[in-house]
Symmetry: C2
Subunit: 402 residues, 2 copies
Amino acid sequence: MHERIASLAHIGKTSDGGSRRIALTDDDIAGRNLVISWMKDTGLDVQVDQIGNVFATLKGEVEGSPIMMGSHIDTVGNGGHLDGSYGVIGGLEILAAYKESGKINKHDLCVAIFTNEEGVRFQPDMLGSLVYAGGMSLDDAHNIISTDGKTIYDELTRTGTLGSMVCGSITPYAFIELHIEQGPVLESKNSQIGAVEGVQGISWTGVTFKGQSNHAGTTPMNLRKDAAYAASQLSVAVREITKIIGSGQVGTVGVISPKPNLINVVPGEVYMTVDLRNIDEKKLKKAEDLLKQKIKHICLAEKVNVETEQLVRFKPVNFDKRISNIIANISDEKGLQCTRLNSGAGHDAQMMARICPTSMVFVPSKDGISHNPREYTSKEHLNYGLQILYETINRIDLNLLD
Amino acid sequence: MHERIASLAHIGKTSDGGSRRIALTDDDIAGRNLVISWMKDTGLDVQVDQIGNVFATLKGEVEGSPIMMGSHIDTVGNGGHLDGSYGVIGGLEILAAYKESGKINKHDLCVAIFTNEEGVRFQPDMLGSLVYAGGMSLDDAHNIISTDGKTIYDELTRTGTLGSMVCGSITPYAFIELHIEQGPVLESKNSQIGAVEGVQGISWTGVTFKGQSNHAGTTPMNLRKDAAYAASQLSVAVREITKIIGSGQVGTVGVISPKPNLINVVPGEVYMTVDLRNIDEKKLKKAEDLLKQKIKHICLAEKVNVETEQLVRFKPVNFDKRISNIIANISDEKGLQCTRLNSGAGHDAQMMARICPTSMVFVPSKDGISHNPREYTSKEHLNYGLQILYETINRIDLNLLD
């Protein structure tokens, strides 16, 4: 597995050692073709669907829906070697292990490469799995235009990636995605494994405070309508909201852009963003309500106006408890420390959860860093994740979900 | 006066009606030459010093130091018609009134145009008056390089503005600058006149918080080192500090620049500025101490690091109470509402205060706006200011300061 991860990372390697294989660029396709060649060398049956998703299947003893693994191999502009690739190559290793050991699988076992998970060139992200799960029509998806002006359809055609398999034509028996955590929770809890119970719902709000730009020296405090003060109060309030809602609620002010942004001018306008996430839809709604109240209070007190815009709103996704229990139990049996957690980042698994029982296996990310060349997980941890995935597939193959 | 203000505003007029006569550019020189032509037409004796300051003098009955008025005619990139020009042209009107009416002045009366008050091309601002008052050597000043790579000496020579009079060779008996307020205080108090008692001290601090950039979804609140949260807390604290210090203390966070400034990333670094001003040096120091304490507390609580840099530090300037009392008394006698206040902006008068009794007469600025084409003061208010200046000169000429 480690050699394959390193080989794939050679394609689109950046000057500082990161990976750049943006969806449906030549480097992404070179990476896909390398992985497909491994799939074929392993003796798997490879199919490509009409949005470019790749499915490599090892036939099982009994006809029926496959147990699917997989993830993506596209990257952000300068990402790490593990995000996505670990789940695809890890799944492939498991099929190879079955094949080599002669172990009999009842269900078909399948590993997928989903198209455009990162959403760098084409919006939205997680596109391949979204279309596969029926969340967007194939026509709409084909007509999406990249940041460089090409449609997905054109790029699928240009790169020879347009398959004939109908999207969604196979409904999996279960879907399990192996992935690095991309956050600091497992490391902070000294856990080797994360049993993922769901994906947080996301609420993004753009907030523009409009006050009055004034001279910083000549304007008494009581005559100010300071948009930056309002924004700062809201930023502090976002932290308070996470405390009020409690454990599991996160809130981030990532963007603060005052105008004119000059040392001696009271800012007349500030654009800022608020990112709220929770695994519990009710709590997320409560956080949104508190945010609205805070904005109202701030505007009244500072005599500023506000415009808000909902930029993104996804409901939380709950994974299949039976699978996360299996993951936790196996970890326990193997003497590994397992933490049940929710994903704060988006994954193909959340789309697949629409059509079949789904969960994810996480391994720790050093310092929680991802989407960065410094993304790192030790080989030991990567191996643990692979072992847990293997055993999880074994057990699910025993019809544990029936 | 109004016609002359309008004529001067024609030179360097911008597309939206503002004024652009940046120091020692051709437009600034054209403006100077126009005003000098008016000075000569009025029969005044015009001298130019070695930093380009212009002094137009009406001889008095008795030998001795002159009562000086004046301001500047250079502007910011797109400023108003009144900032500076009002004080120069207003002073000229008073000399003309003496000349025309045959009224005898004991002291020489003089109106000055100071070079580079705005500090747009050449740093520091208030340069001409600073050099005149002995705050910077002529050599140092001549070697200052503009934003476009020219020295002051070169530009003085190129524009024929380098005079022979030694800077500071005349010590005025008193200096009075007529100016628009550039702030909202007089308007908010329904006052026609401001008797200026001093100029606020200024403390500018650049603050860089360094935390850790993290994924907004995957990083639990308790594991964050959020530089933007720290910056927002400090911004809120600056307002608190102004309340603790009380009336007269102003505090502004004008710049907030998070990195990477992306919606779904916890900012790892934020640069921000804090502008603190007070007329009382002790209070200003206390505000600075409180700022340091707040920064320390914030860093400890959020586990972020900080670098601070003092960008500017000027002590407050106290004007001559006798002159501000005269201004207030005259206003009272004329039935005008006068407010005693301190200037939040810098002025040539604060440099002249180093060498002679000094004060300023303010008139209201509509909505407190200045350094902007929308800068506006009604003709009625401009006339009141001129009348008060005239009467103030009359009284000081009676040796009221002896």
